[in-house]
């Protein structure tokens, strides 16, 4: 059997390895925070952890002022795409997942299988035909071009069905029907309410996916005013190699773009955990 000494050693080793991995994960984020406090000269000096060239206020002011505050316009666009897109997507997914769980109809499992196949389609393979279709419809370079595609998430439907099976109590649905409530009413006031944690999970996943989305806006948008953050920062970065003054803009802009997601994940841990766990159980 193990001696207290060897147990103490393995405890140190286990936690040491975990700590090392944590450092690898956090280092780039710490760098981002310190780098955002520097002017271009300080950044190019490459010594991110000194306070040489400290100019966080200046960076923020320049970020806000650049090109009539286009950065904050991108910020609002991202909030719009991710917020509206994810809320609508979650509602649509939960409605479909609920229908798959509660009702029986012919060809149900076949249809569900088709939806699941949708999870496997590489989204980037769809972007080009979607772009061409959108340009035929004349909606390229509009909010709709980015919003419409993000309303669909087959994985969200799968997740909703699994979560409905876990949360929605059949007896309560039956009781409501006996009391004379219509089917849609039952969905709205019982189904949706009991599966609310699932709704939040799907919302959170889709919000992150849309906030992170880069390929679709890259293909669909050319008007800077419609850009989300990801595309705007990409455009600035393309300038930075020739014009180093863009570096502080990109770094500070990146930091501000990361903050809401980090906050959302820290405060809503329970929900993304639920989503990942459901995904891991087959």
């Amino acid at each position: 059997m193990s001696t207290p000494r060897s147990r103490w050693l393995s405890k140190g080793a286990v936690n040491g390895v975990l700590l090392l991995a944590t450092c690898y994960m956090l280092f780039p984020l710490v760098w981002l925070v310190t780098a955002a406090t520097k002017d271009a000269g300080g950044l190019l000096a490459g010594d991110a952890f000194s306070f040489e060239g400290f100019d966080l206020g200046g960076n923020l002011a320049r970020l806000a002022a650049y090109n009539d505050g286009v950065y904050f316009r991108w910020y609002l666009n991202s909030l719009l795409y991710a917020g509206v897109g994810a809320a609508a997507c979650a509602l649509i997914s939960v409605a479909a997942g609920y229908a798959f769980h509660v009702y029986d109809f012919r060809g149900k499992e076949k249809l569900f299988g088709l939806v699941l196949l949708g999870v496997l389609v590489p989204t980037t393979a769809l972007a080009l035909p979607m772009y061409l279709l959108a340009s035929d419809l004349g909606i390229v370079n509009t909010y709709a071009a980015v919003l419409l595609p993000v309303l669909v998430n087959p994985f969200g439907v799968y997740l909703s069905r699994v979560l409905c099976a876990a949360y929605v109590p059949d007896e309560v649905l039956e009781a409501a029907r006996i009391d004379g409530a219509g089917e849609l009413r039952v969905f709205w006031s019982i189904g949706l309410r009991t599966v609310m944690p699932g709704f939040v999970t799907v919302f959170l996943f889709q919000f992150t996916a849309v906030w992170n989305n880069f390929f679709l806006p890259l293909v669909m948008l050319s008007d800077q005013k419609l850009f989300p953050l990801s595309l705007g920062l990409y455009a600035w970065n393309s300038n930075a190699h020739a014009e180093p003054d863009y570096y502080p803009l990109v770094v500070t802009g990146s930091l501000l773009a990361v903050v809401p997601l980090v906050l959302a994940f820290v405060s809503l841990q329970r929900h993304w955990r639920a989503g990942l766990t459901a995904g891991s159980v087959k």
Binding site: S10, A48, L128, S230, H241, S254, T277
Partner: protein, 296 residues
């Protein structure tokens, strides 16, 4: 009964309509597009006309060395990335699941945090950390006598793999950790009673029970890897990196469509990529199902 059918239809309609509009129709349209090509008419003035070319675009794509090399890059990428990702995530999950780990919630959150960072921003941060003028890492490595050029031809693959690893390690770790936590504790107690130590329990009991999760994570990782685009795109723009603008098949398709306006070729390349993904997932699900049936 009729009311129920109507309700089911009503609740499903929004999703199915959109599913058709943004998945089924674009796939069909891509197939259609891939069968046509633009031909310069006559002497080259008077514009171009669209002509049917059958599988011509597929032949062009497969005949293009740049496209084939893209698949070579993906193969090399997967060979390096997959073992590191699966091994790293599984190893860390086992450590976290062991009785010795402290501060489990903190570690889970800290290790997961990079996944909250948008891919494009993760790529930007790391490219800056690879850039000698900007990076404390490169400077520290040089001071330590290690000169590694992340933008050199040998550095291309490790540079991209590192970014992907940083983004996805924590995510997969949480999936494995959740699966480990779901293992019936009595099985683990039985192993301990039989005299198995922590190592033995981990490798002979826990890991075999995680086979399903491992196969699923592996499959999704490979499908995700086939779409590799954002990280190498950032590397390919203005850094002087060896990563070219057609480095992966997806970048090839993008460049065919938007640099050369050859939509037919771009569609054919995208479809070949999607077919590869479909074949792979079919093979993997088949393989795991056979295993399960044999085990049963």
């Amino acid at each position: 009964m009729k009311a129920r059918t109507r309700a089911a239809a009503l609740l499903l309609t929004p999703f199915l309509l959109l599913f058709t509009a943004v998945l089924v129709v674009p796939i069909g349209y891509a197939v259609w597009l891939s069968l046509f090509t633009e031909k310069q008419s006559g002497l080259g003035f008077g514009g171009s006309e669209t002509v049917f070319t059958g599988l011509g675009n597929y032949a062009t794509a497969l005949g293009d060395r740049a496209f084939r090399e893209g698949f070579g890059v993906l193969l090399g990428y997967c060979l390096l990335y997959l073992p590191l990702l699966l091994g790293g995530a599984l190893g860390l999950a086992l450590l976290l699941d062991s009785a010795l780990a402290r501060a489990r919630r903190f570690f889970q959150l800290a290790l997961f945090l990079p996944h909250a960072v948008p891919g494009i921003i993760a790529a930007l941060i790391w490219v800056y950390l690879y850039t000698p003028q900007l990076s404390p890492v490169v400077k520290a490595m040089e001071a330590g006598g290690i000169g590694f050029d992340f933008f050199s031809p040998e550095g291309a693959l490790p540079s991209v793999v590192n970014i992907a690893l940083w983004e996805w390690l924590g995510y997969n770790l949480i999936i494995f950790y959740a699966a480990l936590q779901a293992i019936d504790r009595s099985v683990l107690e039985a192993a301990t009673v039989d005299g198995a130590g922590a190592w033995r329990t981990a490798f002979s009991v826990k890991v075999p029970l995680l086979r399903g999760s491992l196969a699923m994570v592996g499959l999704f990782t490979v499908i995700g890897s086939l779409q590799l685009f954002t990280e190498p795109l950032i590397l390919s723009r203005g850094t002087g990196s060896a990563v070219t603008s057609t480095w992966t098949p997806n970048m090839y398709a993008y460049s065919a469509a938007f640099d050369r306006n050859d939509y037919g070729l771009a569609a054919a390349a995208s479809i070949l990529l999607a077919l590869t993904a479909a074949l792979l997932s079919f093979a993997v699900t088949r393989l795991t199902r056979d295993r399960k049936e044999k085990a049963a």
